[in-house]
């Protein structure tokens, strides 16, 4: 029976958001058509796949929940038990790039002991800390513990990697995909923490083990906007890393042009048109992207790489033309004229 309203405040307000985004190539020989996206990403019957066509094809699966009850990673090694759910979803951009994204909001819990599971399902995407220390000022300890992957003393915490991997695997097994990829590209992992603060901050660290971590602040924006920013960041970091890798492997200082062409062709065909930083990021969070784009300068590096490929292609065309001009003059002159 309904009861008159009273405040349902519990825990400690906003808490912190933690998450991980895995980015890789969709296992399909061609770019996936827009009309196939609902079938491939329809992971929850009865819930719609949201899809966008402008400025770039992008579709997002419904959010699924995963239940956890485990010790969380803390930098200090203090034992903090967390119970609740993570939200996880898959996204496909440009019919080509697949992302698995999982996140949760860590909040001070309502009790010293575990509550019935329905309590946690009533707060989807929230993990509550449980126990005597549940309202301890733990934000920094949990954020540091989550981002630091080298600390052996800490509890392993929530396995975001497995959760993202499971949803990506589910998409890749879709019968609508032919499971052939046009080129090889490594999967990247971006781990992130977001905290509410009026001070605008963003940090991005590329570890020497290939790990990426980012730490941002937000101020009143909905959680969905923060998640989209992190996914967009992960997408562009992956594009840049993949293009770098293609060029490293495909552009030796000398060697046959055919080999080079075969190797860099996928980048031209499948990657270059996907660069659209901030396309789906809300306006009030765009300054964060822009400051990251100034230093270290993602777009500057991307443009340099793309220009390098274009120069190589132009050079290659010129070389081919002059080679054929010298070889078979009559036929080639005709060819150029037509």
């Amino acid at each position: 029976m309904p009861s008159p309203a009273r405040s349902d405040a519990g825990g400690d307000g906003a808490g912190i958001l933690i998450g991980e985004v895995h980015t890789g190539l969709l296992l399909n020989s061609a770019s996936l058509r827009q009309d196939m996206l609902p079938a491939v990403l329809g992971l929850l019957p009865g819930e719609r796949v949201r899809s966008f066509e402008r400025p770039i094809s992008h579709a997002v699966s419904p959010e699924l929940l995963v239940g956890v009850d485990c010790d969380l990673s803390t930098a200090s090694g203090t034992r903090v038990r967390g119970i609740g759910t993570l939200a996880v979803r898959a996204a496909i951009t440009g019919g080509r790039v697949l992302q698995g994204s999982a996140w949760t909001r860590l909040m001070g819990g309502h009790a010293e002991h575990r509550l019935p599971w329905s309590h946690y399902l009533a707060r989807p995407g929230v993990v509550e800390t449980v126990g005597r220390r549940r309202n301890h000022p733990y934000h920094a300890d949990l954020a540091d513990g989550f981002l630091d992957r080298t600390n052996n003393r800490k509890a392993p915490g929530i396995d975001f990697g497995a959760i993202c991997g499971q949803i990506m695997g589910e998409v890749q097994r879709s019968p609508y995909l032919d499971r052939r990829s046009p080129f090889k590209a490594a999967r990247t992992t971006l781990r992130w923490v977001a905290e509410e603060s009026p001070e605008r901050r963003i940090g991005f660290i590329l570890g020497d083990d290939g790990s990426r971590t980012t730490r941002i602040t937000f101020d009143g924006q909905p959680i969905s906007a923060v998640i989209e920013l992190c996914e967009d960041l992960a997408l562009h970091d992956w594009l840049l890393s993949t293009l770098l890798d293609v060029i490293d492997r495909g552009m030796p200082s000398d060697g046959p042009h055919e080999t080079m062409m075969r190797r860099i062709r996928p980048a031209v065909d499948h990657l270059i048109h996907l660069w659209m930083p901030g396309a789906r990021v809300v306006e009030s969070l765009l300054p964060l992207w822009e400051s990251l784009d100034t230093k270290p300068g993602f777009t500057r590096q991307w443009d340099t790489l793309v220009n390098r490929i274009r120069d190589q292609l132009a050079l290659r065309t010129l070389t081919l033309l002059s080679a054929s001009a010298e070889g078979v003059p009559g036929r080639n002159e005709q060819g150029i004229r037509s």
């Binding site: 029976m1 008159p4 009273r6 009865g46 929940l65 485990c70 329905s118 399902l121 009533a122």
Partner: protein
């Protein structure tokens, strides 16, 4: 140059969740099985007479809480596990018996409608939304262990057999309820059995879907499901031709409600325990949850987010 304010939207990108009308309370006056029907119209009337004081109490309690309580009544007929008689005969008897006992039935639903309602596979939609209660130590490394067709509120006893290293029968270990404080009340619920290519959903499973319908928490791609329709006149001869939920009283308050109250005989206690174990593991769409809580707040009512707190019972020994 001044910049223009631009708006751009894509319909396929939106999350749209239909609002549905809501009462304050949905009262279930009973649940009819073949045996009850075969006991005759007088037995039905006596049953309704025993229910009536409980239904009146619900009204009294709510009149003390809100100014004009919207209370709708409903009745569920089992046409899933056994098929008996015809809609016109059964519904005619029900209405006559309830009227004689001074009760008004606003809506009549059939149990098959909890499996598939007007073409929408409700039981499957709910099944896809199950997020199993994780035992302590679950960190997402692997999907939680599950037995196909079963759902429990904890960790099962390790399955028996021989300890390979020792070559002797392994000692029994108790199951454990995840939310146990000191001692466990472990329950393992069978959700379905497959017979050939037909899936038979269990009684508590369909009763869980029934509670979700009464709470107005189910949507199919954002659209309402099992929307009540006015009772056809005449009533069809085949149960399959009857919509999932029919409205008997045109002026009745909405079928779905913030909370539900069911008047049940105590023999249904185990079923309802199973219903709660299932419902406690159904993840309601965050948008729908939010919508209901906001609608309550607009009426100055606090609607608990935890759906189990919205489900109440009156359980006398015998009805």
């Amino acid at each position: 140059m001044t910049s223009a304010h631009v708006t751009f939207g894509e319909v396929a990108a939106e999350r749209r969740i239909s609002n549905i009308p809501l009462s304050h309370v949905s009262v279930e006056l009973g649940h009819l099985y073949m045996d009850d029907f075969e006991a005759g119209r007088d037995a039905l009337r006596r049953q309704f007479e025993r229910v009536r004081p409980w239904a009146e109490t619900v009204t009294q309690i709510n009149e003390g809480r809100v100014r004009r309580p919207r209370i709708s009544t409903c009745f569920l007929i089992d046409d899933y596990f056994t098929r008996f008689s015809t809609p016109s005969v059964v519904i005619g008897d029900l209405l006559a018996a309830s009227e004689a006992a001074g009760l008004r039935i606003d809506y009549i639903a059939r149990e098959s409608g909890c499996a598939v309602a007007d073409g929408v596979p409700l039981a499957e939609l709910v099944h896809a939304r199950l997020v199993p209660d994780p035992p302590p130590g679950t960190n997402g490394s692997r999907p939680p262990p599950h037995e196909s067709g079963w759902l429990s509120n904890g960790e099962r006893s390790p399955s028996g057999g021989v300890d390979e290293a020792m070559g002797q029968v392994a000692a029994w270990l108790p199951p454990r309820e995840n939310a146990a404080r000191h001692h466990s009340i472990f329950l393992d619920v069978e959700m379905w059995t497959d017979e050939g290519d037909r899936r038979i959903w269990s009684c508590p499973y369909l009763a869980a879907v029934w509670q979700l319908l009464r709470l107005g928490l189910l949507r199919d791609d954002g659209r309402p499901v099992a929307v009540p329709v006015p009772a056809p006149d005449p009533l069809p001869d085949d149960w399959d031709d009857l919509p999932a939920i029919i409205q008997m009283v045109p002026s009745a308050p909405p079928f779905a409600a913030y909370t539900t109250m069911s008047v049940l005989s105590s023999r249904f206690l185990p079923v309802e325990h199973a219903v709660r174990v299932i419902l406690g593991q159904v993840s309601i769409s965050a948008a729908v949850l939010e919508q209901t809580v906001r609608r309550g707040a607009d009426e100055n009512l606090e609607i608990p987010r935890d759906i189990l707190k919205r489900i109440g019972y009156a359980i006398p020994g015998e009805i």
